[in-house]
């Protein structure tokens, strides 16, 4: 396995999970049914992202992504965007709360530089400034 020689951007976590608020950021192409779908017609990929509110009804979420089989996510969005699972472990006291903002984007792009320097920073900023998350769970497709 080949690892990059660049440094790993490691941010320490010095809290208790039971007192921490968690956000989800997924590359699985998840968005609300009434939000604009990701543009799968663009062969370069869609650099946008969608904000998902914490009180979302998971039946109102869907996937637009043409680079993985999302049949299972269509049946249960929690297999890539575990919002109901997060609620369950919150009610059990495992985590302290659910962040005020979650993010879905389409993790396929031929515009890596724009994704890395643009979209990723915008998403990090949304989480840092707008979600009050103490930590983030990242998922792919």
């Amino acid at each position: 396995m080949t690892f990059s020689r660049k440094c790993v951007p490691f941010t320490p976590f010095d809290r208790e999970l039971s007192k921490s608020t968690i956000a989800i950021v997924t590359a699985g192409g998840v968005h609300l049914r009434d939000q604009e779908p990701f543009n799968i017609a663009d062969e370069l990929g869609d650099l946008g992202y969608r904000e998902i509110p914490p009180d979302v009804d998971s039946s109102q979420l869907m996937v637009t992504h043409h680079h993985y089989d999302h049949t299972d996510a269509d049946e249960d969005i929690n297999v890539v965007f575990p919002i109901d699972v997060l609620r369950d472990i919150e009610s059990e006291g495992f985590i302290g709360g659910i962040a005020k903002k979650h993010i879905g984007y389409m993790g396929y792009t031929m515009q890596l530089k724009a994704m890395y320097e643009g979209t990723a920073r915008e998403i990090a900023n949304e989480i840092d400034k707008g979600s009050r998350a103490d930590a983030v769970v990242l998922t792919g497709g």
Binding site: L17, D72, I89
Partner: protein, 86 residues
């Protein structure tokens, strides 16, 4: 921005390692599109999420991928490999 702690759940560990994620859980043999497990398997989904979040409080080596097996997932799949150049 001082940075936000993250943990990644990946089903393509070799591919995602290229992006140097700080903490990573690989639920062994889960197929693409099943990061948390299969549809409706809520107990398994909860366990995967708890295991991922626990990596935040453990002394993992930055960049390390932790592999955990979940027999209740059922049939397992080979993860995609990174294409070798040349």
């Amino acid at each position: 921005m001082k940075g936000v702690p993250t943990v990644l759940i990946t089903v393509s560990p070799e591919v995602s390692a290229q992006m140097r994620p700080p903490r990573t859980l690989y639920p062994k043999g889960f197929k693409i599109g099943n990061s948390l497990g299969r549809p409706g398997m809520r107990e398994l989904q909860k366990q995967v999420l708890r295991d991922a979040l626990n990596l935040l409080t453990q002394d993992t080596r930055p960049g390390e991928t932790i592999t955990i097996e979940y027999p209740e997932y059922g049939e397992q799949f080979e993860p995609p490999q990174v294409k070798k150049l040349g």
